[in-house]
Amino acid sequence: MTDSIGTVPIAVLRDLHRRMVRIRLFEEEAGKLMEGGRLPGFLHLYVGQEAVGSGVMATLRDDDVITSTHRGHGHAVAKGANLRYMYAELFGKETGYCKGRGGSMHINDLSIGMLGANGIVGGGIPHAVGAAFAAAYKGQDSVAVSFFGDGASNIGAFHESANLAAVLHLPVIFVCENNGYAEFTPQERHMLLRDVADRAAAYGMPSEIVDGMDVVAVYEMSKKLVERARAGEGPSLLEAKTYRYYDHQGVKGLRIPYRTQDEIDLWKERDAITAIEQRMTKANLAGEMELQKVWDETRAEIVEAIRFAEQSPDPDPADLLVNVYTV
């Protein structure tokens, strides 16, 4: 009996597993709340992609900064955000991360280096470059990670940010979560490449491709690139092949079937959480009860967090102009 899978020790495996479970359950419950008509606005669920956010985030410190996208809950949860304030934000409550002003697409927590989800495709990518710039400027060894999708790699802001980071030799890891679709457009209709990773060469930047359903692989590869950046060796691009289980927005696929059930089933067979649980069990690194405990604890935490959110007050309309400016 070993106490690791590959080079990844048991404590890290548990950590990765817990991060993924927390994301999964957070999102499943958010989806139910939305289906129940209890959440205002849009909801872009991260379910299916848990291994990417979790694997990368486990290689980061609190002072390492990430920027995220419209599909940002998973990143926030994995980075260690408080589920209470996240749900409160989804409900638009004053206690939410954005005091109810931002909603699902703008959750952020600077205290743990989460520089925010962003509703503009590509909008957050340059912020990561700036965060890396600031860290380097101050002589800190923290890094910045920008998450974005396959679709986002077609927007100018990605191109400019990648080139800037390369030219300025900044500690940025560009993490492309390639889930095969930009909204309802499959990758083969929005770019000719199979691998977004191939775009890194256009900036003189190394890249890696990893199975985004294998949290251990993501962790190991991210660790390598983060260490590289931390050591002052510059930016890199990590592409994780992954899949979202639910619709682009909301839960159920809308009436236009742009993906086949077969495709969805195939990816679900490779579910990242199931996979790590099986590997841990097989390697005798965890018993079923121990894993179940993680789910149970998380469920309890989520029930409490949703209750907190629901019971929280709405913002006061008298405060409409709060935070527009720093005064």
């Binding site: 606005g41 638009g92 002003r101 909603g103 503009i120 590509g122 709405d314």
Partner: protein, 328 residues
């Protein structure tokens, strides 16, 4: 007359304009196979095929600019920007290119491009998916800009936009997509620069932009119960602006209120208000009142958003305030 929803009227304008002119093509994100995230483009692919209905990568600067180039070469592209809020990633192609090419190139090039987009708040879409930025576009020489307030107008203004040899922008209001109203079956155009007097009245003129026209109509009905007779004008297009219709009305009613969803400060209401006081100064019994959003981003929280967006209540209050006003 047959009733259609706002979004279906939009859809029909494209169906018919594409039948009318084979140079009309539709370009945008998920407009073809998916039919658009608001289903505004449903069925176009099926009817007109992949040649004329084109899904694009997420590359607004690229595909808007592609529309400009294609327009300069004789097509009539309808380019869709999913949310008005995204204009900042491609604005150069609109004001520095589409709007200026003809002038800047000495007149030889025309750019019959139509940009369609969805603006406005009210869906808890948050600060980056709810904005009303028409004042920016109205400030650009060379552009024309419409904000239809009804299914009828969506169709007519879209047809006019597509037939226009100048670059045009048609801003749909997201909150009205499901709103129903009478829409003629045949193809018809509503000329840009012709405001519509939606309701006649004698006591005060309320000039509305986009969806706010409907709030003004509701306010007018409520005010009528107190014997206040409100004239409501729908500007329909903010560029060109039909100043004459507005001025004629205010010279009769002697009082004016302008209402739009955008933040008041430097909004299009400022232009309308300025023109009224310039051209109808001696007719005014009270200052022109502007009603718009407060100076903040659009909040996500429904409670805040409701307080943020102008509505019939604020118009009612504004009108009453104007009428009660004592001059110096």
């Amino acid at each position: 007359m047959r009733e259609l929803t706002y979004v279906k009227a939009f859809n029909e304008s494209l169906m018919q304009a594409m039948a009318e002119d084979e140079n009309v093509v539709v370009i945008g994100e998920d407009v073809a196979h998916y039919g658009g995230v608001f289903h505004a483009f449903d069925g176009l692919l099926k009817t007109y095929g992949e040649k004329r209905v084109i899904d694009t990568p997420i590359s607004e600067m690229g595909f808007l600019g592609m529309g400009v180039g294609a327009a300069a070469r004789g097509l009539r592209p309808v380019v869709d920007l999913m949310f008005f809020d995204f204009i900042g990633v491609c604005l150069d192609q609109l004001y520095n290119q589409a709007a200026k090419l003809k002038y800047m190139f000495g007149g030889d090039v025309t750019v019959p491009l139509t940009l369609t987009t969805a603006g406005g708040a009210g869906l808890s879409a948050g600060p980056q998916h709810s904005q009303s930025l028409e004042a920016w576009l109205a400030h650009v020489p060379g552009l024309k800009v419409a904000l239809p307030s009804s299914p009828h107008d969506v169709k007519g203004l879209m047809v006019a936009a597509i037939r226009d040899d100048n670059p045009t922008v048609v801003v749909l209001n997201k909150r009205m997509l499901g709103t129903k109203g009478p829409v003629p079956e045949e193809i018809y155009a509503i000329p840009f620069g012709q405001a519509e007097t939606v309701r006649s009245g004698n006591d005060v003129t309320v000039i509305g932009v986009g969806r706010m026209v409907n709030e003004a109509v509701v306010a007018a009905a409520e005010l009528a119960e107190s014997g206040i007779d409100v004239e409501v004008i729908d500007v329909r297009t903010v560029q060109p602006l039909d100043s004459n219709t507005i001025l004629d009305s205010v010279r009769r009613t002697n009082r004016a209120v302008v209402v739009h969803e955008a933040v008041t400060f430097a909004g299009i209401g400022a232009e309308i208000s300025s023109q009224i006081q310039e051209e109808a100064f001696d007719y005014l019994d009270a200052p022109v009142l502007r009603i718009g959003a407060p100076f903040s981003p659009v909040p996500f929280s429904p409670v805040l958003e409701r307080a943020y967006i102008p509505d019939s209540h604020r118009i009612v209050d504004g009108v009453r305030h104007l009428l009660e006003r004592q001059g110096a």
